[in-house]
Symmetry: C2
Subunit: 186 residues, 2 copies
């Protein structure tokens, strides 16, 4: 169906500008498909997981969290960065429990996507948590989050109001809405 | 409903590490809610728009494009970076036409989100394009993309196969699916 024209950009040179705790910034000089050259600014990221967890009361488990890049506190589904070599499903299970106190009996992969393919390689997995039971949250030392639980209608209102405003959470809410519309349990 | 505990992180110092054509990287030293300190690696981005455009044949207008950060060619809805001071709706209209040749009679805002709130401030708007008519694509000099049109079922299959694999496109397809399930035209 798609024509398989080669749209590839070959790396001529690559320079690491910064290597941090979370991201690495590199600048690649590339050869374009027409033989011209350009540069690409690339942020390397270890990847992340997030969890679509719906309680028995049909509420989405979320966290309120300050996000320094945005200089504001927003509502998101529980999420966390992958550690080197970590299994994403284990990471999802761990982050859900650490941030919210909810334990899942079962966790299953739903969808994965690159958050910003134009400048970053962050690959984010969404897992669905089933069979929730509530315990205590255990946060990392520099992590400050608050548990919030919202119905689907409340989530859709918060999206419209711009209070739920990050890619993974918007995608997870739409996915949940889809499953509700199709009459499937989550 | 939510407790309004202050989760804010105050900036103690901010250093710009890199200023590029697309992104700026800065490292902020922050004071945490408990008085401790930490650092935050922050990528500043001008923001972007993308377009959910469905043809009269009920196919989603997409582009095949090589993404250097991922080292692969992927399928996405048409999108582009905002230029300084540019109106997002105008940008959406322009990018759709430049990348695909489709002109929209009307463009309306659907949803906006931060793509990676943990490390970047990129804010992405999705617009819905209505009243499409087909002309010729006019690409930027270092832009190489190919038009692809897919039905909703084909999009869902491509998501499952990981071939549609970026946040904005996954969110747009779920949104389209929702509208179809609710019996609303797009």
């Amino acid at each position: 169906m798609t024509q398989v024209r080669n749209l590839e950009e070959k790396t001529i040179a690559s320079e690491t500008i910064f290597e941090g705790r979370v991201v690495r910034l590199q600048i690649d000089r590339v050869e374009l498909p027409d033989g011209g050259t350009s540069t690409r600014e690339i942020v390397k990221h270890p990847g992340a997981v997030s969890v679509l967890a719906v309680t028995e009361e049909n509420k989405l488990v979320m966290v309120r969290q300050f996000r320094k890049p945005l200089e504001k506190t927003i509502l998101e589904i529980p999420a966390g960065k992958l550690e080197a070599g970590e299994n994403p499903a284990d990471c999802a299970m761990r982050e859900l429990e650490e941030e919210t106190g909810y334990r899942a009996e079962k966790i299953e992969h739903v969808v994965s996507f690159y958050t910003s393919p134009g400048f970053a390689d962050e690959y984010l997995h969404i897992y669905r948590a089933n069979g929730l039971s509530k315990g205590e949250a255990r946060l990392d030392q520099d992590e400050f989050v608050e548990l919030v639980e919202l119905t689907l209608d409340e989530c859709l209102e918060r999206i419209a109001a711009g209070e739920i405003c990050d890619a993974k959470t918007v995608a997870a809410v739409y996915l949940w809405q889809n499953q509700v519309l199709r009459g499937r349990s989550v």
